[in-house]
Symmetry: C2
Subunit: 556 residues, 2 copies
């Protein structure tokens, strides 16, 4: 059986290796346009930062063997032709036209089964100056080398990152560690659209505390420079720039597939069934060029990730070999390190859930990721979203220096299994003090959400509370201890420490909504119970506490 | 409504606080025999080690407020009587006899609902010398203070830990960090019966590398000393000892419940339904004194943990208040830090699964917990066990310096949801290089197990392989590179590096079972595929590689 695979970076070699495992007699050829094979593209920000020392580490096996054509032939027994571009798929003849980019020689490969693994490429916005020297994407190893060369030339570069998505923020950290003055310019209201606005606010504040400048709701209109970039022009003014990183998203590489008449989705990705078969019965696809199904909404989506490419590659290979396997889809799980913060998400954000027509209830439960008495305990802001009627979990978001991705992964399994928040709250997770609080953060947020679903708890995020204060219908109640108030203060809030609240409720207005809060609102919750007990009927806790308050507060 | 709760350490205060949240008018009294309330017993090894600096940290809220009777009254609005022993439950009268341990005064509390949260206590084996000075359990704060006082008296104590369970190993680390010479004496073949023997072997080797002595299959027959302990006598000789920690397990404190005629389980714990109701319709129970249901076997079990006590406490409180809630049971999830290793488990071990009548398939997949090019990537040995017919996941075990509990927690959710290994392998987990390999370790082990279930992969653990070598029916094949052989070697193994194997298969005997291995057997798997391709029919990979080989090997 002749199998041709187009693309040799992520899904392609996976498909090839798995086919050889299934059928050692198969004749597999991988064609790859570029020089580099099977490299860890997601590691590039860490190569730029210097955390990863050499290019070769990204292209070698865990024991240090280079994944080059010789390795693949000797160990895996398949052929990789690099510097070879696939120029046309001839579906009727079942051939692929190819061109040797070194010699210019053209030829053709015939296939019994074809697998398209052409990946995705950074989108370049149609603005003047996008081709100036000093403007980089971060897609291939060549980009990383270019950035590193520029960093070596000059210290403390003024750098503008266009786009506050995952790669943009990873690059912010990488370049800040080189001493660059980094400005992130994001067109939307907030960075990281993978999380909700109030969670993104926490990330933005952390970035600014680390010395990066974050400009949201800002549109880049041009990149300026004489040959070499000198500034980025935005609708909020000009930003001097020695270097610009364009990270405004990627698009699937599907020109070949489109020319061949294969069915594509709304986002331009190839549509496949769960066996990774395209609209042609002899052509499969896997990796970033595919639109997988979102398991929650049931609609095709586009979430290019190495993890998904690997899974799809295995399924495509099994399908090619006639073995029963299926890739059901994704739920948008993502994680990103932003300086000292872990930002993780699975399932739907509130925004996405509402857009998909769900009636949702969500809550933020902050807390340390270990018992507070253990050294290294670090806070996580954990947000959980459920469908109001079915109580099924729709999404979880984590932001903070604590171990958030661990909790989000547990929720990812729960969402995949269709668990309700009630079922999730009872899962027997591992517990010992070096690893988690007795009630793991994931279970605590589930229980708080159960309270909210049951009407035992009312809470709102800062953005919901602000208008109530402005209209005078609500008052803020700070229940923290005096020492805490010396660090951070909302001037207009009333103040009664939690321990004194039960005996001092008479000081509070009965005709207004009371918004109790503390640092992260655990005691805000206690306060709400005391107030309810004292006959206050309209008590709404501030979700996430004073830390999430994005408006004027005094930080001492 | 009058509610009496017996026990004020873990589940008790949780029940009380939750009742007050549900029903602020409830009249709740907690009676606690000891001085200390609501303290983190699981933190005691870390208080002994010095990681936790003061006793108070274990007894205070995250913001440093002491959880004493005044705190509970003022903030939570319930009454705790400490130094007060419940001496008898009078079910007909619905009263509890109590005794003030300070004054000796006896009285009685009447209840509408009673909740028993009496916990568990360390078991003292019936041997001579168990009451000598210098012999400690590690149950209460008093024990921890006693051990700390002794450590302050003399440096480099000879310490014997009786029992290699979770607490025994946590104490081994704590005392080794104080410079003690620690010997762990375990009656069974291996320490940590929560994991399978070949996984426990890895832990034992790590403990020995850290300077602790591990004596397995060793029975303590007496503790010797004149007033003060001087040695531990075992069936394998006498061990000098300045201090002995007895950690041979705990037993539920159910004398009160038993006297009252409540139904108990085989292990002496109180039996309840899922609402935490005992065999008396007005008496509930929660925490370590209860035998919860093992969700996999459906049988009562005994796994005393703070996490379970918390969950049961919430359910018991909701049930007392007439709210619908249920605690379904546990799946034996546990985690333990042993020096630099994380040891975690969920579900059934192979041993337990076989004992429960399952026909199982299991496999060990070792690998780094992050891409190998990221600094701090650390190995995990991950073992996954599934039911052969249904392919449902039965258990996962993790051992090693890598982030194992995270993977085990994901499996815990999967087991709770009844997922098959095929479903689990496709879950969309978070991926970025600082957090996990592109294919998370949990998904890799699931895929290797799928291969094994499908007959595409054969593997066996060292303990299964050894007899085949002794009988001459099998040969070992080392496929590592020359440099690796300089570190560690099995002398009798044949050697062909993986890269050369395809061209040198003629050197191998065709009439014998070939056992390829490398350091951790990823390349052992590659080798098996090459050998199968070359016509070798009986190829079995060594599960976990040379690192798990417990027999003679040369370590250079």
């Amino acid at each position: 059986m002749n199998i041709v695979i187009i693309g040799g970076v992520a899904a392609g070699p996976k498909v090839a290796a798995r086919i050889m495992r299934n059928d050692p007699k198969a004749n597999v050829t991988v064609v790859e346009k570029g020089k580099f094979l099977s490299y860890a593209g997601c590691g590039l920000p860490y190569y730029v930062s210097g955390v990863v020392k050499t290019q070769e580490e990204l292209m070698s096996t865990p024991v240090g063997v280079m994944r080059d054509p010789v390795f693949f032939q000797k160990v895996k027994n398949f052929t990789i032709k690099n510097f070879t571009e696939a120029t046309k798929i001839n579906r009727a003849e079942k051939t692929v036209d190819i061109k040797d980019l070194n010699t210019g020689e053209e030829s053709s490969l015939s296939y019994d089964k074809l697998v398209i693994c052409t990946g995705a490429s950074p989108f370049t916005p149609p603005i003047d100056g996008a081709d100036l020297d000093g403007v980089y994407h971060l897609h291939g190893i060549e980009d990383a080398e270019g950035i590193k060369a520029r960093l070596a030339e000059k210290k403390a570069l003024d750098t503008v990152i266009m786009g506050g998505g995952l790669i943009g923020l990873e690059m912010t950290e990488a370049l800040a560690e080189h001493g660059c003055r980094v400005t992130v310019v994001e067109m939307l209201d907030h960075v990281l659209p993978i999380i909700d606005p109030e969670m993104a606010t926490l990330v933005e504040k952390h970035m600014e505390a680390k010395g990066a400048r974050v400009m949201t709701s800002t549109k880049v209109t041009a990149i300026k420079g004489e040959g070499k970039v000198s500034a980025v022009v935005t609708d909020k003014g000009e930003i001097p720039a020695d270097m610009v990183i364009v990270s405004v998203g990627v698009r699937p590489n599907t020109a070949l597939a489109k020319d061949a008449g294969l069915e594509l989705g709304k986002r331009g990705g190839i549509l496949t069934d769960a066996t990774m078969l395209t609209s042609d019965e002899d052509i499969y696809a896997a990796g970033d060029c595919v639109e997988p199904i979102d398991l929650i909404t049931g609609e095709p989506t586009f979430v290019p990730l190495g993890s998904t490419a690997n899974k799809q590659g295995r399924v495509a290979a099994n399908s090619v070999c006639g073995k029963n396997d299926a890739f059901p889809g994704v739920i948008g799980s993502s994680v990103c390190k932003v300086f000292d913060f872990t930002v993780a998400r699975t399932g739907l954000t509130d925004k996405a859930a509402k857009a998909a027509g769900y009636d949702i209830v969500s809550v933020i439960a902050p807390g340390p990721d270990k018992p507070h008495f253990m050294p290294g305990a670090a806070p996580i802001f954990l947000k959980l979203t459920a469908d109001k009627d079915s109580r099924r979990i729709l999404g979880m978001q984590a932001v903070g220096p604590g171990d958030g991705d661990k909790r989000v992964n547990a929720a990812a399994v729960a969402i995949t299994a269709g668990m309700t928040v009630d079922e999730f709250a009872q899962v027997d997770l591992c517990y010992a003090p070096p690893y988690s609080p007795a009630m793991d953060n994931a279970l605590v947020v589930a229980n708080v959400l159960r309270n909210k679903l049951d009407g035992q708890y009312k809470s709102a995020i800062a953005q919901e509370i602000k208008p109530w204060l402005d209209s005078g219908e609500a008052v803020l109640l700070d229940v923290r201890s005096p020492g805490e108030r010396e660090q951070m203060l909302i001037e207009e809030a009333l103040w009664i420490p939690l321990g004194a609240l039960r005996s001092r409720t008479a000081e509070l207005p009965k005709d207004k909504r009371i918004i109790p809060f503390c640092k992260i609102s655990l005691r805000g919750y206690e306060a709400a119970l005391i107030l309810q007990d004292a006959g206050f009927e309209d008590v709404v806790v501030m979700d996430g506490g004073i830390i999430t308050w994005p408006y004027k507060k005094t930080v001492k």
